[in-house]
Subunit: 126 residues, 2 copies
DNA sequence: CTAACATATGAACGTCTGTTCAGATGTACG
DNA sequence: CGTACATCTGAACAGACGTTCATATGTTAG
C-alpha cells in the first residue's frame, strides 16, 4: 500500500513509523474523550474480579443484603463490603437501607446487558 | 422478614448468619459455572486497562497494524504488542499476517456490542 | 548473503489490587 | 443506659499488573 515513512502525527509530539496515515488519522478522529475511556476502563476493571463479577451476577436476579451475599458466595462479610463499595462508587450497584440491613441491587439495566453479552461471548469458547 | 439465624449452607462447609435463606438458595442455584465466571472476569479485566480499551475501540472501526496502532494511540510499539497479546489470548482481537506487517481486528461482533453498552452506561454519568 | 523493517518476547521494576484482621459506626430492642 | 446485630473502614501484606528496555524472531529487498 502506501510506502512506509516517518511522519509527525498531527496534534501530537511523537514521531513514529506509520504504514497507513489515513487510517491513523481516522483512528485518532474516532477516539473517545479520555474521561469516558478512563471511566469505562475503571468500570470494566471492577467487573474484572471474579468475586465482584459474581456479586453483580447475583444481584441481577435478586435484591440481596450484605450477609446473604456473603453466604451465597462464601465470602467474608468484610470482603463483600469492600467489593460492594467499589461497585457502588462506579454506579454498578445501588443500596437501600432498611433498619440495620442494607439491600443491594443493580443500578440500571445496562449492567445486566453487559453481563449478558459478556457471558454469551465467553460461553462460546469453553 | 424471616428471623435471622445461623445455618449450614448446603453444598458448602461455611456457617454464616443469613437473613433470607430462600434468596440465598436461589442465588446459589443461579450461579454460573466458575469456568465461565473466571474467563469472563479475565475478559473484563483485559478491557479494564485504558490502553487496551483504546486499542479495542480503535479496532472496532478499522483493521490496523501494530505500528499504526502505536502511532494512533501514542504508545510504544512494545507496549502495543504486549497489550495485543493479552487481547488475542482472550479472543478479543484476531490477527492476520501480510508480509512483514500484522493486521489486527476485533474477533467477533460481541465485543463491539460490549463496548457500545459500556460507553452508553458510562456516558450517562459524565 | 546482509541490511532494514515489523513485530514479539523476557526480565526487571515500581505500582496497584484484593484479602484479612481488628476495630469503628450506626441501628434496634429491652 | 447496654447488648446484639449489620455493615463499614483503615492498615498491612502478598501477589498481580503494565510499562520499559534490550533483544530475539521473522520477513522482504537488494
Amino acid at each position: 500500500m502506501t510506502a512506509p515513512k516517518t511522519v509527525a502525527i498531527p496534534d501530537d509530539l511523537c514521531e513514529v513509523k506509520v504504514t497507513d496515515l489515513a487510517k491513523v488519522r481516522r483512528a485518532r478522529k474516532n477516539m473517545k474523550p479520555s474521561e469516558a475511556v478512563l471511566l469505562l476502563a475503571e468500570t470494566f476493571r471492577a467487573l474484572g474480579d471474579p468475586n465482584r463479577l459474581r456479586l453483580v451476577h447475583a444481584l441481577a436476579r435478586d435484591e440481596l443484603c450484605v450477609c446473604d451475599l456473603a453466604a451465597a458466595l462464601t465470602m467474608s462479610q468484610s470482603a463483600v463490603s469492600h467489593s460492594l463499595r467499589v461497585l457502588r462508587q462506579l454506579r454498578l450497584v445501588r443500596s437501600r437501607k432498611d433498619g440495620k440491613t442494607i439491600y443491594y441491587r443493580l443500578d440500571d439495566e445496562h449492567i445486566e446487558r453487559l453481563l449478558g453479552d459478556g457471558f454469551e461471548h465467553v460461553e462460546e469458547q469453553l
